[in-house]
Symmetry: C2
Subunit: 139 residues, 2 copies
């Protein structure tokens, strides 16, 4: 069985991601948001005009369409984000990052990146570069 190495790598990646996700969740809990919510805020922050269609959000965050709907509901209530209808296409409802949401994101980003740095600290500079290349190749 020659492809056992690949199987072990995939298992290792799963374990690693599990660990990372828990740490990042802890880091973000201080800001009252989950990792998934952070991903949404990040996408919106990077999007043109801080607004996006829900379906693109779903794609970029790796969620289903219904997952986005349910995730966004509380975020709208809290005011991190608000809806906006599209004049051109009445099917789509755009999601817009609010100022409050942008502020929370910026605070959370500091924590997130700091935690990420701590997690990846065991890697040397060239290992980190290699990892970036690997992710790019596999995504």
């Amino acid at each position: 069985m020659l492809n056992k190495a690949e199987g072990d790598l995939v298992m290792g990646l799963a374990n690693l991601q599990n660990k990372i996700q828990k740490r990042q969740a802890a880091a973000l809990s201080a800001h009252g948001i989950s990792v998934t919510e952070y991903m949404v805020l990040l996408q919106l922050h990077r999007a043109a005009n801080h607004r996006m269609r829900r379906i693109d959000l779903a794609d970029n965050v790796g969620l289903s369409a219904s997952g986005v709907t349910r995730l966004l509901n509380p975020m709208v209530k809290i005011g991190l984000v608000h809806k906006e209808e599209n004049v051109r296409d009445a099917r789509v409802s755009l999601v817009v990052l609010s100022d409050a949401g942008a502020q929370i994101f910026q605070d959370a980003e500091v924590s997130f990146n700091h935690a990420a740095q701590a997690l990846l600290a065991p890697l040397g500079a060239e290992q980190q570069g290699a990892l970036a290349g690997i992710i790019k190749a596999l995504l």
Copy 2:
């Protein structure tokens, strides 16, 4: 903000893992088991005498103790696995891989490893080695 690179790496890893997990789930669905169940079978298969304490299983698979209990219940019913009480310590209930479970695992392992190989195919040999080193360093 110099640690942005690390944050992006962590986000990239999350996306990658998301993709991998879905592919592996599809590969395993032919055998009627989930990725988590596969992980359990794998651990049991590798364990001495094909048996393990539930708590060690939880640790190795990255689940909570209650998660293991709930995951195992259907697997016991189907006969992939069975309980066994520990004579030395009446608190623990050992999980034992059944012959049927071992058979299913061996079949599933082929699919799993094959899918893993396909996923990692874009990587060169030395990238794959680098990834193994990175995972080891970070776990």
